[in-house]
């Protein structure tokens, strides 16, 4: 009995990693749309190839639905093997409370500090000099997706920037299209607003407010212009009676809507629908005005587990997620940019190339998830979804309320 146990231990110790005893690792995430699911399947495949087993714990809805469940399970002492969070501060306190696995050793061994680009991604994972998460992709918000079919139906040219888009809206409306598709969830409203700040107010304005949290700037004329613009834009989104972002995207894909301000993850949906960038749809980074992208994205955290086998599997998964092949395979499907500067995305499509170019030029911003606490984010989201959907709120009132949030933002 004893001997066989020892033997078993030895054999597993000496076996190649691919032959290691299969360990089940439950991975929770909220990637359930078509493109997302296809992308996450790449991670699962790569992890399973390492001899372990990916137990998929997808929670549908959105981050808002999924995060409470994840947090409850981690604080309740029954954590999963790995879990998705957005880049930034969502898991900050969980890390502080010592509930998360320290990945520093692995990161140093694999020299993440050298390969992760931009470096800010890794910074978001770092607390007191220790690394606690694996950034897996770069997502940027600053895109508008335009449907060629919709514009063809309306008999106007596909716009090349935001101003043209607004100008063409009446024609679309006349053709029975919704000019601007927009889901009902609050994070979408806020995202679109943030993008419009950059497009209309400029990058510095954004930085002043979102990084320096300057209340005076939030009350400035510059931002007033943005609010005025949004108050016009919200009329363009009337009639998009959908909740989920991908249903809004679907309106663009099917030509029911002219365009959608949405992050680059929308790309995955176009891909699943077998649409070709430049031919069926057009993407305009920075809404065609200020070409810049934010470097938000998703990261995986690994809650501390008691089972050493599982811990080993966790490190394996972290390593797999950072690996070149997985990065390429995953990000191609997801429509996001890889976190490694040293991979070649030969098969990347038009839109991804645009993103890669901007990234290479260094025109990057942090994501507001990185600069704001979830609380402040949530407050802005509440305000924005109200503002977008309730036309009785004037731009002025909304701006004042916005400024108040910025005053106290953390």
């Amino acid at each position: 009995m004893k001997i066989s146990k020892t033997l078993l231990a030895c054999s597993s110790a000496f076996a190649l990693s691919t032959a290691a005893s299969a360990t089940d690792l439950e991975v929770t995430h909220w990637w359930t749309s078509g493109g997302e699911a296809a992308a996450v399947a790449e991670f699962a495949k790569a992890f399973n190839e390492s001899g372990n087993k990916w137990i998929d714990g997808a929670i549908a809805g959105s981050g808002g639905t999924a995060r409470p469940i994840m947090i409850s399970r981690i604080t309740g002492g029954d954590p999963m093997g790995a879990t998705q969070f957005n880049h930034g501060r969502q898991a900050e306190e969980l890390v502080e409370a010592g509930l998360m696995q320290d990945l520093t050793e692995l990161a140093e061994k694999e020299k993440w500090a050298e390969i992760v680009k931009p470096k800010s991604l890794l910074d978001s994972c770092t607390l007191d000099g220790k690394i606690y998460c694996v950034p897996v992709n770069i997502h940027s918000w600053q895109w508008i997706w335009l449907s060629h079919k919709a514009y063809a139906d309306a008999g106007v040219d596909v716009p090349s920037n935001w101003n043209e888009f607004v100008a063409s809206a009446p024609a679309l409306k006349k053709a029975g299209k919704v000019p601007l598709a927009m889901g009902n969830q609050s994070w979408q409203s806020k995202g679109a607003f943030d993008v419009l700040i950059i497009a209309i107010g400029g990058i510095d304005l954004w930085k002043k407010i979102y990084i320096e949290k300057d209340g005076a700037t939030a009350r400035s004329e510059g931002l007033a212009k943005v609010f005025a613009e949004v108050s016009e834009a919200r009329k363009l989104s009337e009639g998009s009676n959908v909740q989920d972002w991908n249903l809004a995207t679907n309106m663009v894909i099917t030509g029911k809507a002219g365009g959608q301000i949405m992050g680059d993850w929308a790309q995955g949906e176009f891909q699943i629908a077998k649409q070709v960038a430049g031919k069926d749809y057009t993407c305009l980074p920075g809404l065609g005005v200020n070409e810049i992208i934010s470097t938000g994205g998703d990261a995986f955290y690994f809650p501390k587990l008691n089972d050493p086998e599982k811990t080993k599997a966790q490190f394996k998964l972290a390593s797999v997620m950072m690996s070149k092949q997985a990065q390429v395979a995953f990000n191609l499907k997801k429509g996001s940019l890889p976190v490694r500067g040293d991979v070649d995305l030969a098969s990347a499509n038009d839109c991804m190339r645009k993103g890669l170019d901007i990234l290479a030029k260094g025109n990057i911003l942090p994501d507001s998830n990185q600069t704001f606490s979830p609380d402040s984010q949530g407050q802005i989201e509440d305000l924005m979804v109200e503002f977008w959907k309730d036309t009785s709120i004037t731009a002025k009132d909304a701006q004042e309320r916005f400024a108040k949030i910025i005053d106290t933002a953390e």
Binding site: G63, G64, P68, G378, Q379, W388, K389, D390
Partner: protein
Amino acid sequence: MLTGKAQDGVMTTQERPNQLFRNISAKIAALPMIATALVVFLGGTLWTIFYSFTNSKLLPRLKFVGLDQYERLWTTNRWLISIENLLIYGVLSLIFSLVIGFVLAALLDQKIRFENTFRTILLYPFALSFVVTGLVWQWVLNPDFGIQKVLRDMGWTSLEFDPLYNPEIVIYGILIAGLWQGTGLIMCLMLAGLRGIDEDIWKAARVDGIPMWKTYLFIIIPMMRGVFITTLVIIASGIVRIYDLVVAQTSGGPGIASEVPAKYVYDAMFTKQNLAQGFAGSTMMLLSVLIILIPWAYLEFGGRKRV
């Protein structure tokens, strides 16, 4: 008499049983209830109130900020809208549930044929979860393919019926679904109450020539006090807790027009990662529950004495 209290019986010198051990089995049996009441409901409530004075974010921590959370709560538009929605929904739901439930019960109580069939039809929505209810009604009320589209296709093109997408009336859209799901049970409770009324009352009213509606209004309803109290507890508890239905039907939208307090609390705690803000909202909700409950407890325990 001869015996003073000091003198015990001739043969027994038993100790007076400790009050704590009187009915000991009953107390042991009630332990789960006592534990639930004290630890979960009371303890959880106090814990919640306690931490509402801190600035706990994702995890509870003891950094006190006084009434800051409450100040923020009552200056937050979303909370105010939530309260307003709850009031509208609550009052209307209470009235309609009682009225519809009672009227349906009275109709079913007319010794009609197919009573079982009707009752089953009225009751079945209660078997469905709020999530399902929300989804179905979201679908039926969807302007693009629901009632509005059907009626427009039939020629009524000017019709606007999109309660779930109009911030002004979205709460009524939710009310429709809520009533659909809940009135069946109320009807059942009322029906049970009506069945418990002495037949002679009806005979008396008939002989006296009192019209039926008057009999119901002035004689039967006052006799059903107990049923109404139970029903009220059930309806009211459902109102305060409303959450799933809104999430499934509108997610609080359009905008924040159909937000409710429970959702505010949940989102504050988990999405905004601001536990203390959520706790402050919880505390306000619990407080309002107490306001509902105190009159009930008074009626239940203070009103009558059992001899």
